[in-house]
Subunit: 229 residues, 2 copies
């Protein structure tokens, strides 16, 4: 209201990874009818310190009230703005095996500005069927205009898929294939690799932070809240 289109610049990478977590927490409180939260409560749920929460949120402009914490609705909105949720992102998914289906059928994957515009697969048994309201197109078809491409194909096909998507001017790739792909400058690639996540967890179970340690953690920035009472 006070800041019509002031997009707070330069959020740090760790902050960017934590904001969606705070937003998820805010949504949870909204759904339960709570509409005030303070930095300590967020911190406990997110598994970080209260100071970190305040620092992160301060980067979005003034949105808390001294003495009274944050309004959950405002928090939710502001984080959304900061993450660019006011824009629309056209998303296409390539590969509709179990993983691709899990994604497009999830009520939680495509939210906040992201909308599904097309599905592609090579399997003739899948092409032409309807999934999540979209008829699956053959991979040999031209790629419809889109901002983000989600790659859910076997690793050996990932690079080929990436190449075609890049050629079709898709600007961001979310790669679920356990395969490093190369793209020209100007294309953002983000990897999600289940096996790596499992390996990180296993490491913590042995060494370091884990055995019966306090507060796991990690990149996503969370873990192991609730310390006793």
């Amino acid at each position: 209201m006070a800041t019509p289109r002031l997009r707070a610049r330069k959020l740090s990478e760790p902050t960017i990874a934590r904001l969606p977590v705070y937003q998820r927490i805010a949504e949870g409180w909204l759904a339960r009818g709570q509409n005030r939260i303070d930095s300590r409560q967020i911190a406990e749920l997110a598994g970080v310190t209260a100071t970190t929460v305040r620092r992160d949120l301060a980067g979005l402009g003034t949105l808390g009230t001294r003495g009274a914490g944050y309004d959950v609705g405002v928090l939710n909105d502001r984080i959304g703005e900061a993450l660019g949720h006011d824009r629309k992102y056209d998303v296409i998914v390539v590969g509709l095996g179990n993983l691709g289906r899990a994604l497009v059928n999830s009520t939680n994957f495509l939210i906040r500005g992201a909308q599904l515009v097309a599905l592609y697969d090579v399997d003739p048994g899948v092409v032409g069927t309807e999934i999540a309201g979209h008829v699956v197109r053959p991979w040999s078809d031209p790629i419809v205009p889109a901002t983000v491409g989600v790659i859910c194909v076997p690793p050996e096909a990932a690079q080929e898929v990436a190449d075609k998507l890049v050629k079709a001017k898709v600007r961001g790739l979310l790669n679920f294939a356990p395969q490093v792909i190369t793209t020209p400058l100007g294309t953002a690639v983000h990897y999600v690799d289940f096996s790596i996540e499992l390996q990180i967890l296993m490491y913590h179970l042995n060494n370091g932070t884990g055995p019966l340690g306090g507060g796991l953690l990690h990149s996503l920035g969370l873990a192991n809240p609730l310390r006793g009472s």
Copy 2:
């Protein structure tokens, strides 16, 4: 050979997240019959700087050869040791919707010391069927002894699943439900949230590192290699 059981201590969190990536790169080269690699090549594929690669690997003890780079096989082995792959981890998966199926059927998820020991679901249509060589057990059954539990249930069920797993002495949870869960001290939790990964990608497409920027990035530590030639 020289260091029989010297587990290099205290790897930093970012390093731990990058090691599996290097290992994946090493596996790829091994599969293609290449058996030498240098830090610059790894760096380019992983999307980080060569210095970072060398620093990370130096933490595992001496494993490169000055002037000649790294032996891909040794690299692979040493990273495996460092991540604790010589131990065995019994893994159970709860929830066999599309996501759970995608995980257990993937040849790339359960590798390196992780072995599936049981599957659970609440759906009577799924219980009793065989998936990936295991008969799905009803959720009401006792939990078989395991080290890691993978949660692939809807968000509203995630906390309940976590509680039962913790009670059954499962030490690590990999939570795919978009839901913050609370656990007592001593239980490691690692979150994987597709929607958050998508949001991070969308952020980069607008602001910061992305628009036509060099080298995306992120927690997992990679992206956008291959800079031109």
